[in-house]
């Protein structure tokens, strides 16, 4: 009686544990290689790692990165190299988080964090500029008003 066995199975399921994670209240641990939003890194002395080579923009399949390089001002260099990223914008309405920009970067200036819980209500918020992407003095990303940073924070 295959059908009747089925009834027993569905009935017993009612008393088993649920597999649902009730997301905003409880969060699962993020996977090791999660690709979240990007950060622009700095050296320990505060110099920017980005040298404005535009390799990330070239490799980006979604064409969401816009970079303009500029010669470092001799008296106050922004990066240790010859040039620095003068304009750096990532459009998160287009980014597919493929991580190719990270692989293309010769100086590890751009890496991905594990932040993925952000939602914006207008298009200009969706475009992260250089000032927003750059890490703070402790080497941590800056929190935008539309980002949800509630625990458990889990940084790579």
């Amino acid at each position: 009686m295959g059908y009747l066995n089925g009834f027993r199975v569905t009935f017993n399921k009612m008393f088993e544990d649920r597999v649902t994670t009730e997301y905003p209240e409880e969060k699962q641990e993020k996977p090791d290689r999660l690709h979240g939003r990007h950060v622009l890194n700095r050296y320990e002395d505060g110099m920017e790692k980005c040298i404005g080579c535009e390799l990330c923009a070239a490799v980006c399949p979604a064409k969401c990165i816009y970079v303009r390089g500029k010669d470092n001002p001799p008296d106050d260099p922004v990066s240790p190299g010859e040039r620095f990223g003068f304009v750096y914008e990532i459009n998160y309405l287009r980014c597919i988080h493929c991580d190719l920009c990270v692989e293309a970067c010769p100086t590890e200036a751009i890496t991905e964090s594990k932040l993925f819980e952000f939602s914006f209500s207008n298009r200009s918020d969706a475009i992260y500029t250089r000032d927003e992407l750059i890490v703070d003095d402790d080497g941590r990303p800056q929190q935008m008003p539309w980002e949800d940073w509630r625990p458990p924070p889990d940084w790579a």
Binding site: G6, T10, F11, K13, M14, E16, D17, R18, V19, T20
Partner: protein
């Protein structure tokens, strides 16, 4: 005694007060049905998710109990689309044609009242009345008629949409419902035979605390009724009419906004109504033991609710368990199994009653009946097999 009802409320002169009581009952039944549909949809989603290790709706209200209300409000604010190819009048009429019969059928259900020694009469604002909206002498025939009218709603919805998948859905609906209507009618006939009346009130009062028609008719009619009712309701496993994988949404593909909501509402309302009909004709309606005399009026309502919920749970359980039937399997089950068995069982019950009247030997009657069953069953099986062989032979010839 009027044609419309044998309710003691209407036996004497019908004045303004009586009219007020009737209106009050109409209002109560209407609200009761709407609220119970809301709870039924919520309960179905909750129980189905329980059976699938999920948690179901949790956001709207405590335990997500207001989810249906939220969905309904959302649907009302959606754009009400009518396709260019649609037959506008029929397109607008169809949802109402499925909804109104569900309401009308519910009006003949006895919801409560002490049937052990008061014949189901309760006192409402000093007026003696039944706790059911109407008790027409044609009772169950009204139910059969209404379930047939509801078929028109679905059929016309698909036809008037003017596109192909709804049309396919409504063709399926028509043949499915016509096929199962036969089995449904025959099992209801078994109840007529047992109770000797069409009136739902009489059928309930013929049964008592534990003496239900379910036992007297030998459980088979109830099983067949439940299966045929599932098919009539287009619920899984008989939901070919709206089989998503094959027909998009079936008959309601082109419907949106409040008209879609009406179909959705009617489907669940029909589920509740048919469960209530099963409770009434097979499970003794509000009959049940009364424990505390102080709240004696409460117990029948409680028993009715308990029985109703048990049946609704069975429907939900079936939905969670059984996979959808293939179309030819559906037809096979309807015409080659349910209808002959229901017909045979009706004859058997008739023979039993005649034997009782005439004082024939019961053992002999049962023996003859079983032999006749076996012979005709074998003949039917042989006919079905022969038909299959002939078809295969023709297919081989090409």
């Amino acid at each position: 005694m009027s044609v419309f009802a044998v309710d003691p409320l209407l036996a004497g002169e019908v004045g303004l007060e009586v009219l007020a009581v009737v209106l009050f009952k109409v209002l109560v039944v209407f609200v009761l049905l709407i609220v119970s549909v809301m709870l039924m949809i919520w309960a179905e989603r909750k129980i189905i998710s329980d059976m699938q290790n999920r948690i179901g709706p949790t956001r709207a209200g405590p335990w997500g109990i207001l989810q249906t209300l939220a969905d309904g409000l959302k649907l009302i604010f959606k754009e009400d689309l009518i396709p260019d190819n649609a037959n506008r009048t029929v397109f607008k009429l169809a949802p109402l044609l499925t909804l109104v019969p569900a309401f009308l059928t519910f009006s003949i259900i006895p919801l409560g009242g002490d049937f052990t020694d008061k014949d189901g009469v309760i006192s409402l604002f000093g007026n003696d009345t039944y706790l059911q909206l109407a008790d027409p002498p044609i009772g169950l025939l009204l139910f059969l008629a209404m379930s047939s009218v509801a078929v028109y709603g679905i059929m016309l919805a698909g036809w008037s949409s003017g596109s192909k998948y709804p049309l396919l859905g409504s063709v399926r609906a028509t043949s499915q419902m016509i096929s199962y209507e036969a089995a449904l009618g025959l099992t209801v006939a078994a109840v007529f035979l047992q109770s000797g009346s069409f009136s739902t009130h009489t059928i309930v009062s013929e049964q008592s605390v534990w003496q239900w028609n379910m036992w007297f008719t030998g459980f088979v009619p109830m099983a067949i009724f439940m299966i045929a009712a599932t098919a009539e309701l287009n619920r899984p496993p008989f939901d070919l009419v709206e089989a998503e994988q094959e027909l998009v949404g079936g008959f309601h593909t082109e419907y949106s906004s409040i008209r879609f909501a009406l179909f959705y509402l009617a489907e669940f309302m029909n589920t509740i109504t048919i469960s209530a009909i099963v409770v009434t004709i097979f499970l003794g309606g509000p009959n049940g033991p009364i424990f505390i005399d102080a709240v004696a009026w409460l117990w029948p309502i409680l028993w009715f609710t308990v029985k109703l919920f048990a049946l609704l749970f069975t429907f939900i359980w079936m939905r969670a368990t059984l996979p959808r039937f293939r179309y030819d399997q559906l037809m096979d089950l309807g015409w080659k199994v349910l209808t002959p068995v229901a017909l045979g069982w009706l004859l058997f019950l008739g023979a039993r009653d005649v034997a009782n009247d005439r004082g024939w030997n019961p053992v002999l009657v049962v023996g003859v009946a079983v032999t006749a069953f076996a012979v005709f069953g074998a003949l039917l099986l042989r006919a079905v097999r022969m038909g299959k062989q002939v078809r295969e032979l023709e297919e081989m010839r090409g």
